[in-house]
Every structure is written in structure tokens, then in C-alpha cells.
């Protein structure tokens, strides 16, 4: 895993030096990337909790919408700390609904999740109008501008890093950008999110609570047969899932922008779910997936036509790497396909100087799809994921 990240980073750095498209690893780009990544990752983490307990949570989007609304309303009236907690609580309400429907009443998980998405969007629109229209600076579709949860600056680190970055040295400057990303204007919520991802890993994979929770997603009958209260674990997991999605909503309303807006989630709940699948239902992988989505969302805004053009070279490089791996694994056909595709991207890169501006908006998704397709990992979802479990079916 670490080797992959390091390899990808070296590749990016090399491409930067070759192409001169400095924005692809600039601290500015990375900062935007991190801000774009976190809400996706929080939604993805929410999805991970639910699905590890065997409940598919496509209602993340709706729970995230609830989170943005909660953040908007509570922050305005009670300050930012209460606002974040409010967002989590609003998300949990969505989670509780989903848990009630799927765990207790045995409703199909997708049906319940989609219903929650529709209801949440409706409620948010309705309540936003009721709550924000008459506030100063508010309107029927947006809250007044809200306080920021706070930022961390470690200028003794970020300033030297910034100087290094400006040198544009191979690898060194790129690493400096990363240091700067984490030391300059780092939102407290980002830090909280990262801590939650690491914490979730420990909780789910290193504690008895986590083992029991995961067993409910793998084999609920077996879990019940050894005396585990499957319903309780599933319920808890889905509640936590909702809370995390709500927190993702708070991030959108308080960090990404400074206020609630109707429709502000823009499908990030779904993207979070995709990132989780990409990450094979594991926190690190999920975070990498989110980062990939975040990066490709950020890049078009940073000297897009050049940066995305440089990305073509990155893709070519990745494809060659995939080809080598496939060849070593003995799957020649895949290796050849990868090489050919790599050559196509390389030619494209060499024969053009920029990509059309329209294309920059699409390129991220194309890249993501290619990466997803070629990551060719063996995805393994929890065995009983999405299955309705009835108490007493043990044995």
C-alpha cells in the first residue's frame, strides 16, 4: 500500500519536472485536494461502518444533506462547536431511520436508502426556506454566512516548506508541498476527520467491539449463534454511519464553503460509497480512493488545461506500471492492452500542448475510471452485505 502511494508520488513528481506543469503538485492544488477529499472520505467512512455491519447505506447522500442543514441551522444560532455536533446529530437521525427500516423492519436496504435521500432533499429544501429566508444574509436556499471551525497554522514548518516548494526540485519540492498542505490553514475538521479514519481502523480491526460488528456483516447467523446481539450492532453501526455522513455535511457547509446551500452535497455521498468500494471496504483504501476523487476534482481549477494535459503523461506512466505488474503476474494479454493504452496516452500527450478547457472537467472522471478499472484488485465485500437478516435464522 505504502509502496503504491510512494510510487504514484514519484511518478507525479517526475511528470511535473518533465512537463513543467508545476500546479500538479503545488501546495495550492494539494490544499484544494484535501478540502475536496475530506467530505468524500467522511461519507466513505460512514459507508464503511454500515457495510461492515452488513447494511448497505446508499442513504449517505441524504444523511449528508441532513448534516449540511444541521450545520447551517445550529451553527448560526449556537456557534460552530454546537453546529458540528448538530450536523452529526442530524445525520444520525437519518441513520436511525435507515437502521429502523432495514434492521428492525427488514426493508430492502436500497429502497430505504433511496427513500431517505429523497426525503432528506425535500426536508432540507423546506426547512431551509422556513429557517433562513428571514435571516440577515440568508435566503430561501441558503443560510447566512457561518463561522469557520478554526484553522491550524504551523508557520515555522510551512514557511520553509513554501520556500523549498518554489525551488521546483524533483521530489524535494513536491514533498515540501505536502508538508505545507498539512501545516498551513489546516482546518480543525480535517484533522478530526483524519483522526476518525485512523480511529475507525483501530476500533473495527483491533477491538472486540469491531470484531463483533464485522462478524454481523460477514455471517450474522454465526454471530447470533455465539450470543451476539446482531440487531444492536447493526443499529449502532448505521447510526455511526449517519453521524459520519452528517459530519461530512458539516465539512461542506463550514469548511468547503462558509454556509449552507441547498443542493450543496452534489452527490458526494455516492462518490464516498464508490471510494469505499475502490478501497475494498477498508479505511486506508477508502481514503486513497477519496483522495483520488478529490485530486481530480481539484486539478481542473488549477491551471486546468496544462495540469490536465500533464495528467495524460501520468496516466501513460501508470498504464506502463500496470503492464509491468501484469506481465510479472503472467497475464500477458492484460499487459499488452495496458501498454497499447499507455502508448495512446503518451502520443496524445506528445502531440498536443494543452487539453481543451471543456475536457478538463471530464478528464478527472476518465482518469478515475481508468484507475478503477486497472487497479484490478480483488474486491471483497462483507459476505452478508445488503442481506436482510432476521433474528432466529441461526443454525
Amino acid at each position: 500500500m505504502l509502496a503504491f502511494i510512494a510510487g504514484g508520488f514519484v511518478l507525479l513528481s517526475a511528470v511535473r519536472v518533465i512537463s513543467g506543469a508545476d500546479e500538479i503538485t503545488s501546495s495550492g492544488t494539494l490544499a484544494v485536494t484535501l478540502t475536496a477529499t475530506m467530505p468524500i472520505a467522511l461519507a466513505g467512512l460512514g459507508g464503511l461502518w454500515a457495510e461492515r455491519a452488513g447494511v448497505v447505506n446508499i442513504g449517505l447522500e441524504g444523511m449528508m444533506i441532513m448534516g449540511t442543514l444541521g450545520a447551517g441551522y445550529v451553527t448560526y444560532h449556537h456557534g460552530v462547536l454546537a453546529g458540528v455536533l448538530g450536523a452529526i446529530a442530524f445525520g444520525m437521525i437519518g441513520g436511525a431511520l435507515h437502521a429502523l427500516a432495514t434492521v428492525i423492519f427488514g426493508v430492502d436496504h436500497i429502497v430505504s436508502g433511496v427513500a431517505i435521500n429523497i426525503i432528506a432533499a425535500g426536508i432540507a429544501g423546506f426547512l431551509a426556506e422556513a429557517w433562513f429566508t428571514d435571516l440577515p444574509g440568508g435566503g430561501p436556499t441558503q443560510s447566512p454566512s457561518l463561522a469557520d471551525p478554526g484553522k491550524i497554522n504551523l508557520s515555522f514548518l510551512s514557511e520553509p516548506a513554501s520556500n523549498l516548494e518554489d525551488k521546483h526540485w524533483f521530489l524535494v519540492s513536491d514533498l515540501a508541498s505536502v508538508v505545507e498542505m498539512f501545516t498551513k490553514n489546516l482546518s480543525v475538521l480535517t484533522l478530526l476527520g483524519l483522526a476518525l479514519i485512523v480511529g475507525s481502523f483501530f476500533l473495527l480491526w483491533r477491538t472486540r467491539f469491531g470484531l463483533r460488528l464485522r462478524s454481523c456483516g460477514e455471517a450474522p447467523e454465526a454471530a447470533e449463534s455465539v450470543g451476539i446481539n446482531v440487531y444492536r450492532y447493526k443499529f449502532t453501526a448505521v447510526m455511526i454511519s449517519g453521524g459520519l455522513a452528517g459530519l461530512g455535511g458539516a465539512y461542506l457547509a463550514l469548511v468547503s464553503t462558509s454556509g449552507f446551500q441547498v443542493g450543496q452535497t452534489q452527490g458526494r455521498g455516492y462518490i464516498g460509497l464508490a471510494a469505499m468500494i475502490f478501497g475494498n471496504w477498508r479505511p486506508t483504501g477508502m481514503f486513497m480512493g477519496s483522495g483520488l476523487f478529490g485530486y481530480t476534482q481539484a486539478l481542473p481549477f488549477r491551471d486546468g488545461t496544462h495540469s490536465v494535459h500533464a495528467l495524460l503523461l501520468v496516466v501513460a506512466g501508470l498504464l506502463v506500471a500496470v503492464a509491468v505488474i501484469q506481465w510479472l503476474k503472467g497475464s500477458r494479454r492484460n499487459a499488452i492492452i495496458s501498454v497499447v493504452l499507455g502508448a495512446v496516452f503518451l502520443t496524445w500527450y506528445l502531440t498536443t500542448d494543452i487539453v481543451p478547457a471543456d475536457f478538463t472537467k471530464m478528464a478527472p472522471y476518465v482518469t478515475t475510471m481508468l484507475v478503477l478499472a486497472f487497479a484490478a484488485q480483488r474486491l471483497r465485500m462483507p459476505a452478508a452485505d445488503g442481506r436482510i437478516y432476521r433474528k432466529g435464522s441461526s443454525g
Binding site: 472486540r208 470484531l211 464485522r214 462478524s215 460477514e218 454465526a222 455465539v226 446481539n229 432466529g392 443454525g395
Partner: protein, 508 residues
């Protein structure tokens, strides 16, 4: 025989237990008293209601009538956790394991407070595994284990917990004799320490060897209570079915000259490149049954899956009637006439939540009577499922019943019936009579023998040495992924086979 520890005290008292399912009375008027510190066996035909009764006792299902007393106090268990709190533990007939978790995680699950979930637990598991000769690696994924190993994990789970009252529902179905002996030795030790054990098996010799008391269940109710010293396995069998058993007939060899299945130099490696099977070569002729003896986990699963096309070969060829089928898909193989009785009926053989007639179509989804032209022939499938139910004596209310609602042995009979349908040329049978009662076992054997007379070639894998010796025309021994010995069933004794299976006498 009863130990002094708790002699005379009653551990469990079941009175008037009744349980009904739609169309079936699984239990009625069951009365059993089990003394503390004894091994109490339950025997009965497939579908007699043994597992149902045990699930009631363990809190999985609620009885419709009757009372349960544990250690003298009346109890009413809503969930297994209540039963566990009263000191009960259970090994289920069908494994209760999570594939995607490791052996360690499966074992400690629900009992984390004993040894944690880390190194302490790992040490304890390794210790038990060594004492019992299980040879389990705590960190292996359960997914990669065969039935024998899964069975050992299940037993380990209950030993790890150290329950005072242990229910074992057919724990020995896929264990070979020396593994059974090791298990029994330990069960006796547990009994002598004051544990109470309830043991269910269709292998009546085992029951006579281990039990202090035997209760016979027939058609949902207790019909007799006997002491092992007062009966024989034949007598037990007759109590179970309520009539005399047919005696097995001896037969002439029907082996012909035509080679139907030829395996040459087959090799299978796992993901890490370790050899699981190597240098496997054999022929099976029309009318021949080749038995594979061996302790589960020595490559049986891999061999069967390689022949059926579920596993990639790293070397070697499989030919059927002279045609190389090494690269054929499983479906092609099945269509060309290979039947397959999988080792684990719940993982591979059935759609548990589908009715029997749909399960009849499974694996025959491109062949009559399940299809007409491009369409499924539902009526044909139903009619043929009816035929199987009748011919193989599957006890069930009807073809619309979900497979899950059948008792284990009846599920097995249905699978055997399905795989024998459509006149297969080759039958790959892993533990074909696993969990099947003595009567039904004889019936399945005679079906296989009849098909053999008509030229069926059978690869038979079984932990039951009597079955291997009784059915096979030649027996090979599989040890650590290689075929190490060849025996003539006419002359071999179970002891000889047993020592060949463990490699005793050569390099161990």
C-alpha cells in the same frame, strides 16, 4: 461409567417439548433427562427432529410447547446468548463460520473476554489445536479451509469456550476414524471433568463407543431410551426406523475397459504458489468407482474442484472419454455429463432460500427436464423434483418447500438425487452420504451401484472407510497433495488404510 463429579444430578430436563413448522411437526412430546457428567447420544432418522430439538435447547428457536430445565431450574431462552449464559455451547450441524474472518477471529468471537482477541487467544488456539491434532493455523482465512478443517474449527470453538454443557450435532460427519478417536478421548476427558455432552451422529458404532445413554427419536418424538451395553448398532437402527433394515448385497465387479475420466500429472498451487496437489494421475473406467481415502485437508477439495473446473490447474490435463477438457468451464463439463456432489451442501449445493424445484434446476439449467427451448420448464422441474423426493425418500412437505427447511440429511439426499439425474457419465462425489441416516445411506449406495452397473464412473471421496471399502473398485490414498498408495478394497482393512492416510510407516 458415570463420573463421580456430578453423578445423579440432572443437567438437562426436557419435558413435553413440541415444535411445529408449516406442514411439519418437527417435535412433539419429547421427554429427555440428561444426567450431569455424562455423554448422552441422540439418534434418529433424517428429519426425525434432532437438530430442531437442539436448536430449541440452545435458544435459537422457541418451542411451541413444553418446558426446559437446566441444572434443575426452569429456563426460557430467547436467544443463544441466554443459553450461553447458562453454560451451554453448541457445534451446529451446518457450520456457523464467517468465511472472510480468520480462524482466530471465528473462534474468539463472542468469547473475547476469555483470552482477548490477540496473542493470548492465538496461543490458546494453537495449544488446543495441538492437543487435538487439529493442525489449524489461527491466522488462516476460513474461506480457504475445506470441510474437515471447518469441522475442526467448529469443535475448537466450543472447546475454547469451555462450556459446561456441550451440544455436538454431527461433529464427526467428515472426520476419519483416527480423528474421531482423538476427539472421543477428549470428550471423555471433558465428561470426567464434569461436563455434560450431547452427541448426535448417524454413525451408530461411534454412538455405541462414546455414549453413556442413548435416546432414540422417531418422527419427532422420543421412542426409546437405551444403554449402549444393552444394544447393537443393528438394534439401534431398527429402533430408529421402526422396522428391520435390508442387509447389504454383495456384487460383482462391473469395471470395463473404457477410460471415462483420465487425470494426468495434475498440479494445483494456491495463491502464494504453494503446491496443494502434485503429480496426480489416475484413470476411472466406465463402471468403476475409485475411492480417495485421506484426512480432509490433504488436497481433497482442490482435487474435486480441479476436476469439476472450479479451480485453475497449474499443470496437467483432465480428459473425458478421450477429449481434453482441461480448459472447459464448469458448465461445459456438467453439460457433457459430469455430476458433482459437493462436500459442503450449504456453500455449494443449494440455494437455501429457494424452493426445491428451483434447486432441481441448479446445475441443470440448460438441460431437460428443466428447460424447453430457450425457456425454463417449471412444470418439468417440479415433476422431476417430485421424482427425486420419491426415489430418494426426501422427507419434506413438497417441492415448494425452501431447501433451508429440510433437515441436513434430507438436503443431502436431494442433492444426490439431483446429481444422479440425467444419467451422468461421471460422478464426482465428496462425502455423498454425509449426515445421512443408515437406511438412506444404504439406499444411496444402491442407487450408485445400479448406475455403476450401467457404466457410471465415480470418483468417491469419503471419510467413512466402510463406505470407501464397500463401494470402491480401487482405493487411492491422498496425503499432503499426493497420491501415495493404492489398495484393493477386497483385501484392505480399515487399519491399513488408516495408517496409510496419516503417513505412518513412511516419512512422518
Amino acid at each position: 461409567m458415570t463420573s463421580a463429579v456430578a453423578a445423579g444430578e440432572t443437567a438437562i430436563e426436557l419435558t413435553g417439548i413440541g415444535k411445529r413448522f408449516p406442514g411439519v411437526i418437527a417435535n412433539h412430546d419429547i421427554d429427555i433427562t440428561i444426567q450431569a457428567g455424562t455423554i448422552h447420544a441422540l439418534v434418529g432418522e433424517n428429519g426425525a427432529g434432532k437438530s430442531t430439538l437442539m436448536k430449541i435447547l440452545y435458544g435459537v428457536q422457541k418451542p411451541d410447547d413444553g418446558t426446559i430445565k437446566v441444572n434443575g431450574a426452569e429456563v426460557s431462552f430467547a436467544t443463544p446468548s441466554d443459553a450461553i449464559a447458562h453454560g451451554l455451547g453448541m457445534v451446529f450441524q451446518h457450520f456457523m463460520l464467517a468465511d472472510n474472518l480468520t480462524v482466530l477471529e471465528n473462534v474468539v468471537l463472542g468469547a473475547e473476554s476469555l483470552h482477548g482477541i490477540g496473542d493470548d487467544a492465538r496461543a490458546e488456539i494453537t495449544r488446543i489445536s495441538e492437543v487435538y491434532g487439529f493442525g489449524l493455523d489461527p491466522d488462516e482465512l476460513v474461506e480457504s479451509l475445506g470441510v474437515g478443517e471447518r469441522q475442526r474449527v467448529e469443535i475448537l470453538k466450543v472447546l475454547f469456550r469451555g462450556a459446561r454443557i456441550i451440544i455436538l450435532d454431527e461433529p464427526t460427519a467428515v472426520l476419519v476414524p483416527h480423528e474421531v478417536d482423538a476427539l472421543f478421548e477428549n470428550l471423555r476427558r471433558l465428561r470426567d471433568q464434569g461436563h455434560t455432552l450431547i452427541f448426535i451422529s448417524h454413525k451408530l458404532d461411534e454412538v455405541l463407543a462414546i455414549a453413556d445413554h442413548i435416546t432414540v427419536i422417531r418422527r419427532g418424538t422420543t421412542v426409546a431410551s437405551v444403554l449402549p451395553s444393552e444394544t447393537t448398532s443393528r438394534g439401534l437402527a431398527e429402533l430408529m426406523v421402526g422396522s428391520e433394515l435390508p442387509s447389504p448385497s454383495t456384487e460383482e465387479s462391473t469395471v470395463t475397459e473404457t477410460v471415462l475420466l483420465a487425470v494426468r500429472d495434475l498440479e494445483v498451487t494456491d495463491e502464494d504458489g504453494r503446491q496443494e496437489l502434485a503429480e496426480i494421475s489416475f484413470d476411472i473406467h466406465a463402471g468403476e468407482i475409485v475411492g480417495i481415502a485421506g484426512v480432509e485437508g490433504n488436497g481433497q477439495t482442490e482435487l474435486v474442484e480441479a476436476i469439476i473446473g472450479m479451480r485453475h490447474l497449474s499443470r496437467g490435463t483432465v480428459t473425458m472419454s478421450g477429449t481434453d477438457i482441461t480448459h472447459w468451464t464448469t458448465r461445459q463439463r456438467r453439460e457433457s455429463g459430469i455430476g458433482y456432489i459437493p462436500e459442503d451442501r450449504h456453500r455449494h449445493g443449494l440455494l437455501l432460500d429457494s424452493p426445491l424445484w428451483e434447486n432441481r434446476i441448479l446445475g441443470h439449467q440448460s438441460r431437460p427436464p428443466s428447460v424447453v427451448g430457450p425457456w425454463l420448464n417449471l412444470r418439468g422441474a417440479r415433476a422431476d423434483a417430485e421424482r427425486i423426493i420419491a426415489e430418494y425418500d426426501v422427507r419434506t412437505p413438497g417441492v415448494g418447500t425452501n431447501a433451508r427447511a429440510l433437515s441436513g440429511g434430507n438436503q443431502q439426499k436431494f442433492i444426490v438425487g439431483r446429481e444422479m439425474s440425467g444419467d451422468p457419465k461421471i460422478l464426482v462425489a465428496s462425502h455423498p452420504t454425509r449426515g445421512v441416516d443408515v437406511g438412506a445411506q444404504a439406499q444411496i449406495w444402491s442407487h450408485i451401484k445400479a448406475a455403476r452397473k450401467d457404466g457410471l464412473a465415480v470418483l468417491l471421496i469419503s471419510a467413512d472407510l466402510d463406505e470407501l471399502i464397500g463401494l470402491s473398485d480401487s482405493i487411492r490414498v491422498l496425503l499432503r497433495g499426493r497420491l501415495v498408495g493404492r489398495f484393493d478394497p477386497q483385501s484392505v482393512t480399515p487399519q491399513e488404510l488408516g495408517s496409510a492416510m496419516t503417513g505412518a510407516g513412511d516419512d512422518r
